[in-house]
Symmetry: C2
Subunit: 125 residues, 2 copies
Amino acid sequence: MAELPEISPAEWQVMNVVWERQPVAASDIIKALQVDSEWTPATIRTFLHRLVKKGALKYVADGNRYFYRSAVAKSTTIKKVSRSFLQSVFGGETGPLIAHFVQSTNLSADEIEQLRQLLERKETK
Amino acid sequence: MAELPEISPAEWQVMNVVWERQPVAASDIIKALQVDSEWTPATIRTFLHRLVKKGALKYVADGNRYFYRSAVAKSTTIKKVSRSFLQSVFGGETGPLIAHFVQSTNLSADEIEQLRQLLERKETK
DNA sequence: CCCGATTGTTTACATTTGTAAATAACTACG
DNA sequence: CGTAGTTATTTACAAATGTAAACAATCGGG
């Protein structure tokens, strides 16, 4: 159980809402997700269930409502899945990965500056 | 069929070998993959089969051997899967994604310089 | 206190994925 | 020309995933 659970793409959507607003009731998660997905409430509840079973979410009951919280840190989870992605798609090479995303996106002047600074700090270290 | 096929993580390993050395015989793909995976030849052949069926690979037979080639461009495929990843894991925000990878990796001075230049070009455009 | 609405639990089902063995087809050596 | 050894095709099967309906428990309003 020390194992970080595998989180599927659909489940990521759910986790993102929880990380953002926890503790949060199922009804609110459903509302949030229905804005940009086609999922029915039943479907979203299935995801919640599975995530609890996987150990990615936990909850506290208040009457018949559950308030969900994440059981795994977002940062840890991001690290894990990012490593897999990097490995599968870019053969483990970060340089090309970053290059790809820099080129394929419109970055604001501000973001560019931020990244520039990140690189600078990286360099001197 | 104009649809870009979905490629699973295991299949990505196969595709990477093909993109690198195409046209390439199954036996060579198997050899290449056995270096860092535990897959048996039968398993790898299953992946090849599925990839052909999905339209991600095609082949030319030479006697009883097949020589495989990709049927989809690596760049296109990377774009597609990268978009999904960006969306799922970073809510579509490239800035944080790049920041994550910059921080979580050891970049060589050279790579840092490359990226710096990429950003510069990005800025003035 | 009963009943409709809400919330959670169970069950369902097709598809995809990882993993591979069984079988068929073919080729090349003896 | 038959047969051992490749190669490819078919079949297998459990687990995960996307998608949701059916069912059960409970809560709140009348």
